[in-house]
Symmetry: C2
Subunit: 139 residues, 2 copies
Protein backbone atom coordinates (compact mmCIF):
# COMPACT_ATOMS: atom_id res chain seq x y z
CA UNK A 1 0.00 0.00 0.00
CA UNK A 2 1.32 3.43 -0.92
CA UNK A 3 -0.97 5.24 1.48
CA UNK A 4 1.70 6.34 3.93
CA UNK A 5 3.90 7.70 1.15
CA UNK A 6 1.06 9.76 -0.29
CA UNK A 7 0.30 11.03 3.18
CA UNK A 8 3.88 12.16 3.73
CA UNK A 9 3.97 13.96 0.36
CA UNK A 10 0.64 15.60 1.07
CA UNK A 11 1.82 16.66 4.53
CA UNK A 12 4.87 18.44 3.19
CA UNK A 13 2.84 20.27 0.55
CA UNK A 14 0.27 21.44 3.09
CA UNK A 15 0.47 25.09 3.99
CA UNK A 16 1.32 25.11 7.67
CA UNK A 17 -1.30 27.61 8.72
CA UNK A 18 -4.39 26.80 6.66
CA UNK A 19 -5.95 25.60 9.91
CA UNK A 20 -5.40 28.98 11.56
CA UNK A 21 -8.47 31.20 11.38
CA UNK A 22 -6.40 34.36 10.82
CA UNK A 23 -4.63 32.82 7.80
CA UNK A 24 -5.30 34.89 4.66
CA UNK A 25 -5.22 31.89 2.31
CA UNK A 26 -7.95 30.23 4.36
CA UNK A 27 -10.15 33.32 4.13
CA UNK A 28 -9.63 33.43 0.36
CA UNK A 29 -10.27 29.71 -0.04
CA UNK A 30 -13.55 30.19 1.84
CA UNK A 31 -14.59 32.90 -0.62
CA UNK A 32 -13.65 31.00 -3.78
CA UNK A 33 -14.41 27.33 -3.06
CA UNK A 34 -18.06 27.83 -2.21
CA UNK A 35 -20.79 25.53 -3.42
CA UNK A 36 -21.11 27.46 -6.68
CA UNK A 37 -17.67 29.05 -7.05
CA UNK A 38 -15.95 25.80 -7.98
CA UNK A 39 -18.66 24.88 -10.48
CA UNK A 40 -18.52 28.29 -12.17
CA UNK A 41 -14.77 27.97 -12.61
CA UNK A 42 -15.23 24.40 -13.85
CA UNK A 43 -17.73 25.66 -16.44
CA UNK A 44 -15.34 28.41 -17.59
CA UNK A 45 -12.52 25.89 -18.15
CA UNK A 46 -14.24 24.96 -21.42
CA UNK A 47 -13.94 28.57 -22.61
CA UNK A 48 -15.65 31.98 -22.24
CA UNK A 49 -19.35 32.03 -21.47
CA UNK A 50 -22.05 34.68 -21.33
CA UNK A 51 -24.22 35.15 -18.25
CA UNK A 52 -27.17 33.23 -19.62
CA UNK A 53 -24.94 30.44 -20.92
CA UNK A 54 -23.43 30.00 -17.45
CA UNK A 55 -26.91 30.06 -15.96
CA UNK A 56 -27.89 27.18 -18.23
CA UNK A 57 -24.57 25.31 -17.86
CA UNK A 58 -24.24 25.43 -14.07
CA UNK A 59 -27.39 23.45 -13.49
CA UNK A 60 -29.48 24.60 -10.55
CA UNK A 61 -27.84 27.95 -9.80
CA UNK A 62 -30.08 30.98 -9.36
CA UNK A 63 -29.38 34.21 -11.20
CA UNK A 64 -28.81 35.90 -7.88
CA UNK A 65 -26.13 33.42 -6.79
CA UNK A 66 -24.53 33.38 -10.24
CA UNK A 67 -24.29 37.17 -10.20
CA UNK A 68 -22.97 37.21 -6.63
CA UNK A 69 -20.34 34.51 -7.19
CA UNK A 70 -19.18 36.04 -10.47
CA UNK A 71 -18.63 39.36 -8.67
CA UNK A 72 -16.51 37.62 -6.04
CA UNK A 73 -14.46 35.76 -8.67
CA UNK A 74 -13.96 38.90 -10.78
CA UNK A 75 -12.86 40.81 -7.68
CA UNK A 76 -10.43 38.01 -6.81
CA UNK A 77 -8.85 38.34 -10.26
CA UNK A 78 -9.79 34.81 -11.30
CA UNK A 79 -12.41 35.75 -13.90
CA UNK A 80 -12.57 38.49 -16.57
CA UNK A 81 -15.81 40.38 -17.21
CA UNK A 82 -16.05 41.85 -20.71
CA UNK A 83 -19.02 44.00 -21.73
CA UNK A 84 -19.93 44.47 -25.38
CA UNK A 85 -21.99 47.69 -25.52
CA UNK A 86 -24.47 46.22 -27.99
CA UNK A 87 -28.17 46.19 -27.34
CA UNK A 88 -29.03 44.36 -25.25
CA UNK A 89 -25.49 44.38 -23.82
CA UNK A 90 -23.51 41.15 -24.00
CA UNK A 91 -21.40 40.29 -20.97
CA UNK A 92 -18.77 37.59 -21.44
CA UNK A 93 -16.92 35.88 -18.59
CA UNK A 94 -13.61 34.05 -18.99
CA UNK A 95 -10.77 32.77 -16.80
CA UNK A 96 -7.78 35.02 -16.18
CA UNK A 97 -4.29 33.40 -16.24
CA UNK A 98 -4.58 33.01 -12.46
CA UNK A 99 -8.01 31.42 -12.91
CA UNK A 100 -6.51 29.00 -15.43
CA UNK A 101 -3.79 28.01 -12.99
CA UNK A 102 -6.45 27.35 -10.34
CA UNK A 103 -8.35 25.20 -12.81
CA UNK A 104 -5.64 22.50 -12.68
CA UNK A 105 -5.84 21.52 -8.98
CA UNK A 106 -9.58 22.14 -8.98
CA UNK A 107 -10.07 19.80 -11.92
CA UNK A 108 -8.01 17.11 -10.23
CA UNK A 109 -10.25 17.38 -7.20
CA UNK A 110 -13.39 17.14 -9.34
CA UNK A 111 -11.82 14.23 -11.17
CA UNK A 112 -11.19 12.47 -7.84
CA UNK A 113 -14.88 12.79 -6.99
CA UNK A 114 -15.78 11.44 -10.41
CA UNK A 115 -13.57 8.39 -9.77
CA UNK A 116 -14.60 7.80 -6.16
CA UNK A 117 -18.28 8.75 -6.15
CA UNK A 118 -19.40 5.13 -6.40
CA UNK A 119 -17.01 4.09 -3.61
CA UNK A 120 -18.41 6.77 -1.31
CA UNK A 121 -21.96 5.82 -2.22
CA UNK A 122 -21.20 2.21 -1.24
CA UNK A 123 -19.57 3.31 2.04
CA UNK A 124 -22.63 5.43 2.86
CA UNK A 125 -24.98 2.55 2.07
CA UNK A 126 -22.90 0.17 4.23
CA UNK A 127 -22.83 2.67 7.08
CA UNK A 128 -26.60 3.19 6.94
CA UNK A 129 -27.23 -0.57 6.78
CA UNK A 130 -25.09 -1.11 9.88
CA UNK A 131 -26.87 1.69 11.74
CA UNK A 132 -30.20 0.13 10.82
CA UNK A 133 -29.13 -3.28 12.16
CA UNK A 134 -27.93 -1.74 15.40
CA UNK A 135 -31.18 0.12 16.02
CA UNK A 136 -33.15 -3.01 15.10
CA UNK A 137 -31.08 -5.11 17.54
CA UNK A 138 -31.91 -2.70 20.34
CA UNK A 139 -35.66 -3.54 20.13
Amino acid sequence: MTGDDELAVAGTLLAADILDRTCTSRAIMDQVTTRWGTLIIAALIKGPHRFSQLHARVDGISQKMLSHNLKTLVRAGLVNRDVEPTVPPQVTYSLTPMGVSLATPLTQLIHWFGQNASGILEAQAGHDRQAGELSAARH
Copy 2:
Protein backbone atom coordinates in the same frame (compact mmCIF):
# COMPACT_ATOMS: atom_id res chain seq x y z
CA MET B 1 2.42 31.25 -21.75
CA THR B 2 1.31 27.70 -20.98
CA GLY B 3 -2.19 28.75 -20.04
CA ASP B 4 -3.95 27.22 -23.03
CA ASP B 5 -2.14 23.90 -22.57
CA GLU B 6 -3.15 23.71 -18.91
CA LEU B 7 -6.70 24.55 -19.90
CA ALA B 8 -6.81 21.75 -22.45
CA VAL B 9 -5.45 19.21 -19.94
CA ALA B 10 -7.89 20.40 -17.31
CA GLY B 11 -10.76 20.17 -19.79
CA THR B 12 -10.08 16.54 -20.64
CA LEU B 13 -9.80 15.55 -16.97
CA LEU B 14 -13.08 17.26 -16.08
CA ALA B 15 -15.94 14.89 -15.36
CA ALA B 16 -18.47 15.66 -18.05
CA ASP B 17 -21.49 15.95 -15.82
CA ILE B 18 -20.25 17.65 -12.65
CA LEU B 19 -22.33 20.65 -13.75
CA ASP B 20 -25.49 18.56 -13.87
CA ARG B 21 -27.51 18.84 -10.68
CA THR B 22 -28.52 15.16 -10.77
CA CYS B 23 -24.88 14.03 -10.93
CA THR B 24 -24.00 11.87 -7.91
CA SER B 25 -20.39 13.04 -7.76
CA ARG B 26 -21.58 16.64 -7.46
CA ALA B 27 -23.89 15.76 -4.57
CA ILE B 28 -21.02 13.99 -2.81
CA MET B 29 -18.60 16.84 -3.46
CA ASP B 30 -21.14 19.22 -1.91
CA GLN B 31 -21.25 17.07 1.22
CA VAL B 32 -17.48 16.66 1.61
CA THR B 33 -15.95 19.94 0.43
CA THR B 34 -17.80 22.17 2.83
CA ARG B 35 -16.16 25.01 4.69
CA TRP B 36 -15.05 22.67 7.51
CA GLY B 37 -14.90 19.30 5.74
CA THR B 38 -11.77 20.19 3.79
CA LEU B 39 -10.03 21.58 6.88
CA ILE B 40 -10.84 18.50 8.97
CA ILE B 41 -9.34 16.24 6.31
CA ALA B 42 -6.35 18.57 6.05
CA ALA B 43 -5.84 18.29 9.82
CA LEU B 44 -6.07 14.49 9.69
CA ILE B 45 -3.36 14.30 7.01
CA LYS B 46 -0.81 14.80 9.79
CA GLY B 47 -2.11 11.66 11.54
CA PRO B 48 -4.92 10.48 13.84
CA HIS B 49 -6.51 13.03 16.15
CA ARG B 50 -8.92 12.89 19.04
CA PHE B 51 -12.06 15.03 19.10
CA SER B 52 -10.61 17.69 21.39
CA GLN B 53 -7.36 17.78 19.42
CA LEU B 54 -9.27 18.42 16.20
CA HIS B 55 -11.31 21.07 17.96
CA ALA B 56 -8.09 22.85 18.93
CA ARG B 57 -6.35 22.26 15.59
CA VAL B 58 -9.14 23.34 13.24
CA ASP B 59 -9.19 26.87 14.54
CA GLY B 60 -12.63 28.46 14.83
CA ILE B 61 -14.80 25.37 14.41
CA SER B 62 -17.56 24.79 16.95
CA GLN B 63 -18.02 21.43 18.62
CA LYS B 64 -21.37 21.12 16.93
CA MET B 65 -19.97 21.60 13.43
CA LEU B 66 -16.98 19.36 14.17
CA SER B 67 -19.28 16.59 15.35
CA HIS B 68 -21.62 17.06 12.38
CA ASN B 69 -18.86 17.12 9.76
CA LEU B 70 -17.07 14.12 11.29
CA LYS B 71 -20.32 12.14 11.10
CA THR B 72 -20.64 13.00 7.41
CA LEU B 73 -17.01 12.07 6.69
CA VAL B 74 -17.27 8.80 8.63
CA ARG B 75 -20.46 7.91 6.78
CA ALA B 76 -18.74 8.68 3.47
CA GLY B 77 -15.98 6.23 4.35
CA LEU B 78 -13.25 8.88 4.35
CA VAL B 79 -12.59 8.89 8.10
CA ASN B 80 -12.36 6.11 10.72
CA ARG B 81 -13.88 6.55 14.18
CA ASP B 82 -12.26 4.39 16.88
CA VAL B 83 -13.59 4.40 20.44
CA GLU B 84 -11.40 3.31 23.36
CA PRO B 85 -13.81 2.34 26.16
CA THR B 86 -11.67 3.97 28.83
CA VAL B 87 -13.02 6.50 31.22
CA PRO B 88 -13.64 9.11 30.02
CA PRO B 89 -13.91 7.45 26.58
CA GLN B 90 -11.30 8.37 23.98
CA VAL B 91 -12.48 8.74 20.40
CA THR B 92 -9.78 8.81 17.74
CA TYR B 93 -10.37 9.89 14.14
CA SER B 94 -8.08 8.98 11.25
CA LEU B 95 -8.18 8.92 7.44
CA THR B 96 -9.25 5.73 5.68
CA PRO B 97 -7.30 4.68 2.54
CA MET B 98 -9.94 6.52 0.48
CA GLY B 99 -9.49 9.57 2.71
CA VAL B 100 -5.74 9.41 2.14
CA SER B 101 -6.25 9.32 -1.63
CA LEU B 102 -8.49 12.39 -1.37
CA ALA B 103 -5.81 14.17 0.63
CA THR B 104 -3.55 14.42 -2.43
CA PRO B 105 -5.74 16.57 -4.71
CA LEU B 106 -7.09 18.44 -1.70
CA THR B 107 -3.60 19.31 -0.54
CA GLN B 108 -2.66 20.53 -4.00
CA LEU B 109 -5.67 22.83 -3.94
CA ILE B 110 -4.75 24.15 -0.49
CA HIS B 111 -1.18 24.55 -1.69
CA TRP B 112 -2.41 26.61 -4.67
CA PHE B 113 -4.20 28.97 -2.30
CA GLY B 114 -1.04 29.24 -0.20
CA GLN B 115 0.93 30.21 -3.31
CA ASN B 116 -1.66 32.58 -4.80
CA ALA B 117 -3.21 34.19 -1.72
CA SER B 118 -1.07 37.30 -2.08
CA GLY B 119 -1.88 37.55 -5.81
CA ILE B 120 -5.59 37.40 -5.08
CA LEU B 121 -5.26 39.93 -2.27
CA GLU B 122 -3.56 42.32 -4.73
CA ALA B 123 -6.24 41.73 -7.35
CA GLN B 124 -8.96 42.46 -4.79
CA ALA B 125 -7.19 45.65 -3.65
CA GLY B 126 -6.79 46.78 -7.27
CA HIS B 127 -10.43 46.01 -8.01
CA ASP B 128 -11.63 47.97 -4.97
CA ARG B 129 -9.34 50.92 -5.80
CA GLN B 130 -10.76 51.07 -9.34
CA ALA B 131 -14.32 50.90 -8.03
CA GLY B 132 -13.54 53.75 -5.64
CA GLU B 133 -12.16 55.91 -8.46
CA LEU B 134 -15.20 55.26 -10.62
CA SER B 135 -17.66 56.22 -7.91
CA ALA B 136 -15.56 59.32 -7.10
CA ALA B 137 -15.56 60.33 -10.79
CA ARG B 138 -19.34 60.19 -10.87
CA HIS B 139 -19.66 63.03 -8.31
